[in-house]
């Protein structure tokens, strides 16, 4: 089956309906054998050092996967994607633009999803079938999330990996469903983690570029019980159709929708504090200020640039934050 790559979460149902294999280039990059080397090689080809590490990784991930077609999100993610898709075009990759309307306009979103169907050669009916096919998997991911925050049986790192993988279901929803079912059955038998002293953290912002962030936090005595964006990738809402599903999704729209979600989940999951991850050189670092003004919980802003383990300076900040929150409990 032909693989279709994408630069951030898009209506994956359309790609599946078109008989293609979806590939989230972020996942392909960060789970590759040498993500740090990919950033080095992208820089050696001329991408600026002062540009997002994800963009550099995405650039080479598409090449290494041998993709001839990429859906590029031109609104709702970052403007670096515009230049990235043009770069791919010079290398013969077909790029299909997809734009989430900033104001969540239902008509414009419908038009965008329909245009994507046309570009990939599929129909609304086939897309709806894919939506129904994915529903039990999405229900399973909701159960997994509940096992994390309500029952303490799934770690923050496991939660992150499963939810972040739901942008493309690792290219194979059937296999993903089987593995997820097995994982949930195993996790349900576990003893709950943590106690009253464990610091309950939320992780917000784009998924981390650090490989061992969750282990670092756990060894400091904290549990991540909310992964904001990863949970959004799993489309955790009951909606009538594909248009409603991607209108409810918070990540590509204004920050205020995200803040409402963060506040609701922070109260539900009894968070003690929040880690806001910002990629170096990202516009979302400006949103940090808005989030701080609105959320009303201690927030640590954590910056990451290149893939690899948590560096010493970030570790000091993370451990200090957990220590401070322990002192408040």
């Amino acid at each position: 089956m032909q693989k279709t790559g994408f630069t951030t979460t898009v209506p994956v149902e359309v790609i599946l309906a078109a008989g293609r294999t979806p590939l989230d280039l972020n996942n392909a990059f960060i789970t590759s054998a040498d993500p740090s080397g990919m950033v080095d090689r992208a820089e050696a080809e001329g991408l600026p050092r002062t540009t997002c590490g994800w963009i550099k990784g995405l650039y080479l991930a598409a090449r290494e996967a041998g993709l001839s077609e990429v859906v590029a999100v031109t609104q709702g993610d970052c403007s670096n994607t515009h230049a990235l898709m043009e770069l791919w075009q010079t290398e013969g990759v077909l790029t299909v633009p997809f734009a989430y309307p900033y104001d969540r306009d239902a008509d414009l979103l419908r038009l965008q999803i329909r245009k994507l169907m046309d570009a990939l050669g599929t129909t609304e009916e086939a897309t709806d079938n894919a939506l129904q096919r994915l529903k039990p998997i999405r229900d399973g991911l909701r159960r997994l999330d509940e096992l994390t925050w309500r029952e303490g049986k799934v770690s923050g790192g496991e939660n992150h990996l499963w939810l972040v993988s739901s942008s493309d279901f690792n290219g194979d929803p059937d296999r993903f469903e089987t593995e997820l079912g097995g994982f949930i059955t195993e996790a349900e038998r576990r003893e709950p983690n943590g106690d009253a002293d464990t610091v309950r953290l939320g992780f917000i912002g784009v998924p981390p570029i650090f490989g061992d962030l969750y282990e670092t936090l756990e060894s400091a005595g904290a549990s991540v019980v909310f992964n904001e964006t990863q949970r959004q990738f799993s489309m955790p809402y009951d909606t009538a159709d594909i248009y409603g599903q991607y209108a409810r999704y918070t990540y590509p729209y204004d920050v205020f929708g995200r803040i409402a979600d963060i506040k609701e989940q922070a109260a539900l999951r009894r968070l003690d504090g929040i880690i806001h991850y910002c990629q170096s050189f990202c516009f979302r670092a400006i949103e940090d200020l808005i989030i701080r003004r609105a959320v009303g919980l201690p927030i640590l802003t954590l910056e990451g640039d290149r893939p690899g383990p948590v560096d010493a300076r970030s570790r000091i900040r993370l451990e200090g934050f957990v220590e401070m929150l322990k002192g408040r409990k």
Binding site: E303, D311, R313, S314, I316, R317, G320, E323, M324, G327
Partner: protein, 252 residues
């Protein structure tokens, strides 16, 4: 005997604290410290207490700093820099409600302390801009000692780069323009203050307790007072504040 050790990025500080007093304090250049007192433990570097002349059995040791995981002694306590500096600052200033500003070798920390508890904190972004390393490098380019740089406050030359590396070329540029060394040094001091002001505005009430190596720079302290309008509380031992916090913590 309670002992505190702050394994910082530039200097390793050790305090031996007995009967409520500092019995002895020693500072080592960090690189030199690991060369002289480090040993390989498997594949990892560890601090050799025998070489240091400290008996681990007799020492109630608390460590902090970047190198805190290289000290592997039974019964050791490890605390974060934030906690170490807060405890040290409370002990040295006698205050329980203040904003602590610590400018060290490569990190700047601002901690809000309320009722003797850490209420919130902010640290510089991940580069050594406007840290102790910046002042050291600029002083070297200017051919001045750190004490000399601390003398200058008037007519600061405008400097745009706060980076510990890129700042050098800017200073060389200023020198070639014929700007007096004194004014460039004043510019270096003002640059430090401009960089930390946004961090201080998050906690904008009460006195500022100033610690870390840069706190010895009187010009920076004076400029901080000028630009914040807040009381700047100096400490008797600003450089050893973290090690002292560890030593006090060893007694708790």
């Amino acid at each position: 005997m309670p002992c505190g050790m702050d394994l910082g990025s530039r200097v390793v500080k050790i305090i031996d604290y007995r009967e409520g007093e500092i019995h002895c304090m020693i500072g080592y250049d960090t690189a030199q410290f690991y060369r002289d007192f480090g040993r390989m433990d498997g594949t990892e570097l560890a601090v050799s207490f025998e070489k240091l002349g400290l008996s681990p059995e007799l020492t109630r040791l608390t460590v902090t700093g970047y190198g805190r995981n290289t000290v592997r002694v039974q019964g050791i306590r490890r605390i974060t820099e934030l906690k170490a500096h807060m405890i040290g600052a409370m002990h040295q200033s006698g205050l329980t409600d203040f904003t602590l500003l610590d400018i060290g070798g490569q990190d700047t920390k601002v901690i809000k302390v309320t009722g003797g508890q850490m209420d919130d904190f902010v640290m510089n972004d991940k580069c050594a801009a406007s840290s102790g390393r910046y002042v050291e490098n600029m002083a070297r380019v200017l051919g001045l000692g750190l004490e000399d740089v601390a003398e200058y406050i008037r007519n600061p030359a405008p400097l745009s780069a706060t980076c510990a590396i890129f700042g050098e070329s800017e200073i060389i540029q200023k020198l070639t323009e014929g700007i007096p060394v004194e004014e460039i040094a004043a510019g270096v001091n003002l640059t430090i203050v401009r960089r930390v002001l946004p961090m201080l505005t998050r906690f904008d009430k009460g006195p500022i307790v100033f610690s870390g190596g840069v706190a010895k720079n009187r010009a920076v302290a004076a400029l901080l007072k000028l630009h914040t309008g807040r009381d700047i509380i100096p400490l008797a031992e600003p450089t050893f504040n973290g090690a002292l916090g560890c030593a006090i913590s060893s007694m708790l």
